[in-house]
């Protein structure tokens, strides 16, 4: 019996790539959906997204999905991608301050003014766009068969800064060291795009499809 995955469709970004990559990664039935019942019935949930957090929160509420997302965050294997990771924090400094879902204590910050504006190769560009290394700082079932400092594809101008280090599953360097993956209980969230990160991204998605949502937190 293949596992069922709901990719939450709240109008923020390219969900076709996510669903195609999941289907390619492993044996699963993917529904890209905004329907409450289908999301609740799925074995696992992917919460993707690109763009602005303010729009993300507004769309979630407009579609009456906020409580559904909160329920899934507490109950089933959950994968947040990019904006779907940032939305988990308390607060983003975007748009003069935007509250997020607040299931992980911390803030979402802009790179501007926080990374060197000059260097041997000139200033670092924003967005942080392209392939960068992901340094695992904790063991986790989703890292299975993924090499330390493996390459993943990023595109973002904001990054998460959790209040406590325990939730950090990986870091990446771009003028500063930022959190590129978070993990707690049944939740895993990544700043990069596994659906665009070639074989390593597909492997991470395959690991997610097999994950039972448990993690004892040990290294």
């Amino acid at each position: 019996m293949s596992t069922s995955v709901a990719v939450i469709d709240y109008g923020m970004g390219n969900l076709r790539s996510v669903s195609k990559a999941l289907e390619h990664a492993g044996n699963c039935r993917v529904a890209v959906t905004a329907e409450r019942d289908r999301i609740l019935a799925a074995d696992r949930v992917v919460f993707p997204g690109v763009g602005a957090l303010r729009d993300c929160m507004a769309e979630l509420r407009r579609r009456d999905l906020e409580e559904v997302v909160r329920h899934c965050l507490a109950h089933k294997p959950f994968l947040g991608i990019c904006l779907g990771m940032q939305a988990l924090l308390d607060f983003s400094e975007e748009n003069q301050g935007t509250p997020g879902l607040g299931v992980m204590a911390g803030r979402v910050l802009h790179f501007d003014g926080r990374i060197p504006s000059a260097g041997a190769q000139g200033p670092l560009k924003i967005p942080h766009m392209g392939w960068n290394r992901v340094h695992r700082v904790r063991a986790h079932p989703l890292w299975a068969d993924i090499p330390q400092d493996g390459w993943f594809y990023f595109v973002h101008s904001y990054y998460v800064q959790p209040e406590h280090a325990e939730g950090v599953a990986a870091t990446t360097e771009y003028g500063l060291r930022f959190t590129s993956a978070l993990a707690w209980d049944n939740v895993f969230a990544v700043q990069f795009h596994p659906e665009k990160s070639q074989h390593l991204g597909l492997r991470l998605l395959a690991n997610f499809l097999r994950w039972d949502g448990t993690w004892n937190g040990t290294v």
Partner: protein, 256 residues
């Protein structure tokens, strides 16, 4: 300080759903199939792919949507689609089909607000502004924007335009030197560096690559964040992997 890799991006011209300008490293039968070629470049380690739709008739542009769908279903690296992106609906169709970014050229010149509207609606990360520039003065050097494959001048200064497009919400600039395009003499490094230093967003250098050292020069001297090439890869002279090993040996961070 920054672990971000410099990107190598093969570019494919597509006419009515088929890759043109002869890709020769795959079987003749498959040489026009966008999926086969995309898969081959993916296997070589391409960091992204750019598809330029050069289909002349608007009616046949729909074909490009199917090309993007087919490629995005099998190749899991970022895809940019350019050519004929004229309104928000074109952007939506391409992103929905599986493109990650669209490249906007003529439509931005005709109506610059299109870029801000597209960025506001879909996010800056998926809006690439393509700039075709030609040198019009030598000392000090000046470049102007051209349209229609470099035939029609606009009188717009290339650096001003790049700054304006970055401010309007472009997430990236695809910069082509019309003086170098097709010459295999290397990028216009002065142009590339001037634009890259003028804008806070990433710049992809394009036009003129005929050898691997041109790719390295585009990054080291031109300060490009990514380099785009067509013929050196299509004719099988070099693989993307060869190019990356060359860049790595030149001290450039690449994804190997």
């Amino acid at each position: 300080m920054s672990g971000l890799a410099k990107r190598i991006i093969p570019c494919l011209d597509v006419d009515r759903g088929r890759v043109v300008k002869g890709v020769r490293f795959v079987d003749l039968v498959e040489a026009g199939d966008p999926v086969v070629i995309a898969r081959a470049y993916d296997g070589q380690g391409a960091d992204e792919l750019v598809f330029l739709d050069i289909t002349a008739s608007a009616e046949e542009r729909e074909t490009m949507v199917h090309v993007v769908e087919a490629v995005a279903g099998e190749v899991f690296i970022p895809l940019t689609v350019g050519g004929g992106i004229r309104n928000l609906d074109d952007v939506r169709r391409m992103l929905h089909a599986g493109a990650d970014k669209v490249a906007i050229n003529t439509a931005a010149i005709q109506r610059p607000a299109f870029v801000s509207e597209a960025a506001a609606r879909f996010g800056v990360q998926c809006i690439v502004v393509a700039i075709d520039a030609k040198q019009v003065a030598a000392d000090p050097p000046r470049w102007e924007i051209y349209t229609h494959g470099g035939r029609r001048p606009t009188g717009i200064d290339a650096l001003d335009w790049a700054r304006r497009m970055a401010a309007a919400g472009a997430g990236e600039i695809l910069l082509t030197s019309m003086d170098r395009d097709g010459t295999r003499e290397g990028f216009d490094l002065a142009l590339t560096r001037a634009v890259s230093e003028a804008v806070p967003i990433p710049v992809i250098a394009s036009g003129g690559v005929g050898a691997l050292e041109h790719l390295a020069a585009g990054i080291l001297e031109g300060r490009a964040d990514a380099v785009l090439a067509a013929s050196i890869f299509h004719y099988g002279e070099y693989t993307v992997g060869d190019a990356k090993r060359y860049l790595a040996a030149s001290g450039i961070e690449v994804r190997l």
